[in-house]
């Protein structure tokens, strides 16, 4: 209704209009999409959260209090350290601090528990000197964003694992692997999807039939067993880096089908649009039609498709690694971290092992919200 009426709007002369109205008339596709996207509140909230995640990924070494493989043998399965502002005597300090921890063994159940040792106080500082690391594998650095000055002190914000490694640091490093895995995977997926979908849609005929049947075939095999089969086929002797790229390829090979279908469908419908014929009659070459008319028209659909596929890839990688078929330690990814949480007994006593799962859930949700927002904004001309 509103759209139909909207068509009949008469643009006023530019000079009679206020600034903001003027901008609607000359707003490009991306501006219109942004205005529509802005109306999707959840997506708008998700964006800064995802931005924080990306900051963590980029500066993982600096933001982590410890190194991912650094073992604190005294603190195996240590629970998350409590941060205090008020000490045991009731004195308040502006600088938060942590207490030391000592292990006690219950004489009846032989369970090990940690209790706070209020005699040792470790104030928390920003930009503390700690274990040396190589930022982005390039620069030797010692400064950590947050930490305590005493190197041996227990400062584990989300606890430690069975070997006494800091879970928060490992999760930060893991995000880098898991998200970069998804992003690189998407790049390959887009390449495969664009090329195969593009060929299928633009040329049609027998090529189209072959590609479409191939997609049908790939789609009717259940995804997880297919991933597992392909992952199991990777040689055991490969280095972690090779395995990593091998896995990325596996995901792209399985995942390009959806995008290829979108690309093909859009191309087929756009080829029939009057404006494509008008461009041809105007003397536009094939290259110009593809680059000026077709690509801009479905670029937004590709972006949405990509945004929606990222969480799928994250979950896929996590599932495979969780099952022990994907990335292997010493590589740290979210799935690898969750392997520790496989045993129910472990979980019951050390629930903090699920922290990586929290990261996964939040990330996937945020990507899905943004995908929703983009989908609403995809075609601002409807």
């Amino acid at each position: 209704m509103s759209v139909e009426l909207g068509k009949e709007m008469e643009p006023m002369p530019l000079d009679e209009m206020k600034e903001e109205e003027k901008s609607v008339e000359v707003a490009s596709q991306w501006k219109l999409m942004w205005w529509k996207f802005r109306k999707h509140k959840l997506a708008l909230i998700s964006a800064p959260i995802l931005l924080m995640l990306f900051i963590i990924i980029v500066f993982a070494e600096f933001l982590s209090p410890h190194l991912p493989l650094e073992r604190f043998t005294d603190y195996k399965y240590a629970p998350p350290t409590k941060i205090h502002f008020v000490d045991a005597e009731g004195n308040f300090s502006f600088r938060p601090f942590v207490y030391g921890m000592t292990q006690e063994i219950d004489s009846e159940t032989f369970q090990r528990t940690f209790v706070e040792d209020t005699s040792q106080k470790y104030p928390i500082h920003f930009f503390v000197e700690g274990k040396p690391y190589k930022m982005w594998g390039l620069f030797e650095m010692k400064t950590h964003f947050i930490g305590v000055k005493d190197a041996g002190a227990p400062f584990f914000l989300t606890g430690t694992d069975s070997l006494g490694r800091d879970l928060l640091s490992r999760t930060f490093y893991g995000s880098r692997i898991s998200i970069s895995f998804a992003l690189i995977g998407i790049v390959f997926t887009v390449i495969f999807g664009l090329i195969l979908g593009g060929i299928s849609g633009y040329f049609g005929g027998a090529v189209d039939t072959v590609i479409q049947r191939l997609i049908d075939l790939l789609l009717c095999i259940p995804a997880i067993p297919l991933w597992m089969a392909l992952a199991a086929a990777l040689p055991q002797s490969w280095s972690p880096l090779k395995i990593y790229f091998g896995m990325v390829l596996i995901f792209s090979i399985v995942g390009w089908t959806g995008l290829a279908r979108v690309v093909r469908g859009k191309l087929l419908s756009l080829r029939e649009e009057d404006f494509t014929m008008a461009a041809r009659l105007a003397g536009a070459s094939n290259m110009r039609i593809i680059s000026k008319h077709l690509l801009p028209s479905f670029a937004s659909y590709i972006i949405i498709n990509v945004t929606i596929s990222i969480p799928v890839t994250i979950l896929g990688e996590t599932s495979l690694s969780f099952l022990g078929l994907g990335l292997q330690s010493p590589v740290v990814s979210w799935g690898v971290l969750l392997q520790e949480a496989q045993k129910l007994e472990n979980l019951a006593h050390h629930p903090w092992l699920l922290w990586p799962a929290v990261f996964i859930v939040v990330t996937v949700l945020m990507f899905n919200f943004i995908g929703d927002g983009l989908r609403d904004a995809a075609d601002p001309y409807k």
């Binding site: 008469e10 000079d15 014929m277 041809r280 009659l281 536009a284």
Partner: protein, 339 residues
Amino acid sequence: MQHHNAVLEVQAMKKYFPIKKGFLKRTIGQVKAVDDVSFFIEQGETFGLVGESGCGKSTLGKSILRAIEPSDGSITFVNRKEEAVEVRDLDNKQLRDIRRDMQLIFQDPYSSLNPRMTVLNIIGEPLICNGIAKGEELKRRVGDLMDLVGLNRKHLERYPHAFSGGQRQRIGIARALATDPKFLVCDEAVSALDVSIQAQIINLLQSLQQKLNLSYLFISHDLGVIQHISDRVGVMYVGKMVEVAATDKLFSSPKHPYTEALLSAKPVPIPKQKRERIILKGEVANPANPPSGCYFHPRCLYAQDICKQQAPDFKEIEAGHFVACHMAKDLDLKGVKVQ
């Protein structure tokens, strides 16, 4: 060219679309969208083409520009150098060149403009693609075109969504005029518009015709519009041209029973006029499976045995009046009063 003053002459044009079926896409039949159509358009005239949906009038219009590749026949066009060119023999480069002289105006003012381009780029596309103008020169020429079609040249940087249907159609017309063509195919160019806007666009097309000495092939299903704008009219039915005559002649004394029925079926804005209305039986024949003989015979009030067996020839029965009907000379058909 048989007609020395013609800008375009179409002879025995055919466009058959294959019907494909099954996994292997075998051709199992043909839709004869345009079937052996011949006509010509004179310099500076408007040739109206009227018919019901599916009669092939749009396909015919687009085939002339080779926007759709015709299956058979000949299209002779007189280009700007006054040379008669066979359009069907042209290669891609020559085709691009001849399309500077013949252009198309689309029906739908929404889908015919790329919503992601500014008006400057839409109207300027033919100029850019043919290497005619760029930069400031492009802006100046597009601005001139916008003045010509009654748009404000200040709106160069706007996108199509900022314009109403009528204004978008003006953008489409400006684009078609960019390379200074001499012949335009108007494919239902005013059908999607409201009455008051339709009148604006018809007036614009007529004034442009006089200013720029254009020839039009004006395709429409609306007899009123056709009557108003055309010098001569062709009537199509299921891929065939059934009648061609000067507008007044065709409307006042049609020679084909289908034309008579069309004229009679059109609702006239004169209330309670008791007319002997001819209401045809059935619907337009399926061009994939047309009836035998004359395609119109199952619906025709005057059909004889011969009509079922033999397809009629398209003959000139009076000077400039062509009809495809066995009974053309025997029937006394009713037209409408021409004002």
